[in-house]
Symmetry: C2
Subunit: 430 residues, 2 copies
């Protein structure tokens, strides 16, 4: 025989059965089906297949049976429930100057959470060392062991080559270019690791568990120290060729050569509208006395940050309001082009500066509605993030869960051919 044959297991499970297994599992864990008849109807699979696959998932502790469902005239069906508490996912979101750590259950719900300041420029050894220590602290705190960890998800503040889990030419992460983040953490915890850009993960979090759950085509815009976007196409992340899709911070929005961006170009969106620009312009307004509120803040703490400008604006300081409106105008003008180009049904505004709320949103909306193709704005919603600071961690968990529950990985696990033995997946009937 010249052709290799696909593996087929000892119990007679055929390769295609794992596809059905994933179909069934996806329907149960998303809550779209809660009984066998619902599974049959929604999957288009035959009843025998459904029964076999549900039994297999139950045997491995991924699905459990509950009460009889409400009868709708016929025979009552037994409720099926995804066992979200069957394992843990460890997640971390690294910003330029912050570190957020969490543990979620298998439904992506955050069960433990911690954040602290951390300078990404300290390099991968120091930063990932701290991440590992915090992961162990979290496990201790909730009384779990490394073996309970099904996967690890990491968000980084720069472009990531998703296939290898390595940062790739990240502009604000000295020492990280090409660093094997996946290998390091995978080795430390003996669990599979996935790494992506933090803004992609925020977009994913919003799609799976936030305001984007009813939308297929989404644009998530993070306005923090910098500005970046995450794109969702047909419910999937659009990462682009190098994984750097969503880089809108360096789009030219202003023909003003006096405003030099950290990238070296002039007139970049980030240089005129991001948090660092607000801090810069707010400091100037404080120093020149144009804003008494900001001048007071500068006296009190010796520096002005974007959050001071946001705070002053919400207190009605006219100069701070002007700074925010100008920033929102530039963001809105670029978004008008991107909305026509991408035709999303939802634009989500997140990040620290988004806390300015309606002041920022109103100006962004006005610019987009004024300049985008009317058809593209017909049903368009532009909203603030609902997950706020949890968007990135939630997205990191779903990145892991989506990768865990694929046919290939389930096949590997259920055959226990992986060195990493996951207790919840041990056949409980054995």
């Amino acid at each position: 025989m010249s052709e290799p044959r696909p593996s087929s297991d000892h119990n007679g499970t055929r390769p295609e059965d794992f596809r059905h297994l994933v179909t069934v599992l996806d329907l149960v864990r998303s809550g779209r089906a809660t009984t066998r008849p619902e599974l049959t109807r929604r999957s288009g699979l035959g009843r025998t297949v459904i029964n076999q696959r549900v039994a297999q998932l139950a045997r491995h502790g991924l699905v459990e049976e509950g009460d009889l469902a409400q009868s709708t005239g016929g025979r009552a069906a037994r409720q099926l429930r995804f066992r979200a508490d069957g394992g843990l996912v460890l997640v971390a979101e690294l910003g330029a100057t912050s570190l957020t750590i969490g543990a979620t259950n298998l439904a992506g719900e955050v069960v433990e959470f911690h954040d602290e300041t951390c300078d990404i420029a300290d390099g991968p050894d120091a930063v990932l060392g701290r991440v590992e220590a915090l992961f162990h602290e979290i496990l201790d705190k909730i009384g779990a062991r490394s073996a309970d960890v099904w996967g690890i998800g990491i968000g980084l503040p720069g472009p990531v080559e998703f296939a290898t889990g390595r940062p790739i030419a990240p502009p604000i992460m000295p020492g990280w270019d090409g660093y094997p983040v996946r290998d390091r953490l995978g080795g430390a915890f003996d669990a599979p690791v996935w790494v992506d850009n933090e803004v992609n993960l925020m977009a994913l979090g919003e799609v799976r568990a936030g305001s984007g759950s009813q939308h297929d085509d989404i644009l998530y815009v993070k306005i923090g120290t910098g500005i970046g976007a995450g794109l969702v196409s047909g419910g999937r992340l659009h990462r682009g060729r190098q994984g750097c899709a969503g880089d809108i911070g360096h789009a030219a929005v202003l023909d003003d050569e006096s405003i030099v961006c950290r990238c070296g170009n002039t007139g970049c969106l980030e240089a005129v509208a991001a948090g660092a620009a607000l801090a810069r312009d707010g400091t100037r307004a404080a120093e020149t006395g144009r804003s008494s509120v900001l001048a007071e803040a500068l006296r009190d703490r010796g520096r002005i940050e974007a959050s001071d400008v946001v705070h002053a604006a919400t207190r009605g300081d006219r100069t701070a309001v002007e700074l925010l409106v100008t920033a929102a105008h530039h963001i809105g003008t670029l978004l008008a082009t991107l909305v026509s180009f991408y035709n999303p049904s939802l634009v989500i505004i997140g990040g620290g500066v988004a806390k300015a709320g309606d002041l920022l949103l109103a100006t962004i909306r006005q610019n987009v509605y004024q300049r985008s193709l009317p058809l593209a704005t017909r049903e368009l919603r532009i909203e603030q993030s609902t997950l706020h600071d949890r968007a990135g961690l939630t997205g990191a968990a779903f990145m892991v869960l989506d990768e865990l529950f694929t046919p290939a990985r389930l096949a590997q696990w259920l055959h226990a051919t992986t060195p990493h033995g996951i207790p919840a997946l041990a056949d409980t009937t054995a």
Copy 2:
């Protein structure tokens, strides 16, 4: 029983079998698998499933067996071939002032072709009446009947709601808003019809049979009378919420209130860089004597079109070259933003103005490479369309074929529950 059950056919074909049928058919028709062992390896399906599904496809005339394949050390396997000549797809591409008609085989290869001028503003009755007449002429010419037509694909020069096959608020198509193009043509030919925006179809054509075949994330830019783009994400068309993704013609690229676009705004890309703008500026150059070549063309034919400017530029006329370079500069500047945002691996430049070739491409490339994120341009290619005038028709055919060969539709056909009996799908063993 309260729950409806999915249909299962008289021959014992289960619903999930149709998914496998499509998997097998896709591999054979794309040429990725040409033998049963290859099918087994590439699909991850079991050998029994492969044998059953290949037999089913052969019985219905979609796949035929050929010679023994070259042995690679083991037993020789019999070649499988998709029967591309088993049916026809009728395709039409409607531009603002042109109509292109064709017939393709089931592999999307154009077997007959015709084009003529046609004003889309004549409205749907006149234009679609002409399309129907030309479809019948083409069928006569190649000796085929309506019953040989498996599907119809139509490209329109405006936004289309893909799910219903209706134009939706198209700016240059008076009388077409909401017109039931699908129902009309479907009724006339008793075949399924799909309708999409022409630029989307050009992008699809390039992905399936042109320079995009090795790429997953593509931006296709058509520079004709207007300017529009088609987006491919992960190998699939990204149509956006209303099907109007790719509308880049009205992005603001110039802060010049004197250039009013047909949309009512000022400084739109289309108003400064599309074919109509070149014709306008070329006419001015001819009238003022700045270009002797264009002045001669104006004297000869009484008007200047974009193609005259392109032609004059390729003959070295300095003013015409300047006009093209200015247009390319504006296009390139916007593309720089879109490349950073979308991170494609390939940008394809098509449409009439693209015939200016390297002159246009060099300036576009220069602007993109200068201003986009370096990472996004690391492997980026910016190339001219290779399918040229056939891109739209080819894409229209693949739109139809992709929709025809889905599990649901194959299930419908193979059960002959459709009123449209397709001869090639009749069970030839009956």
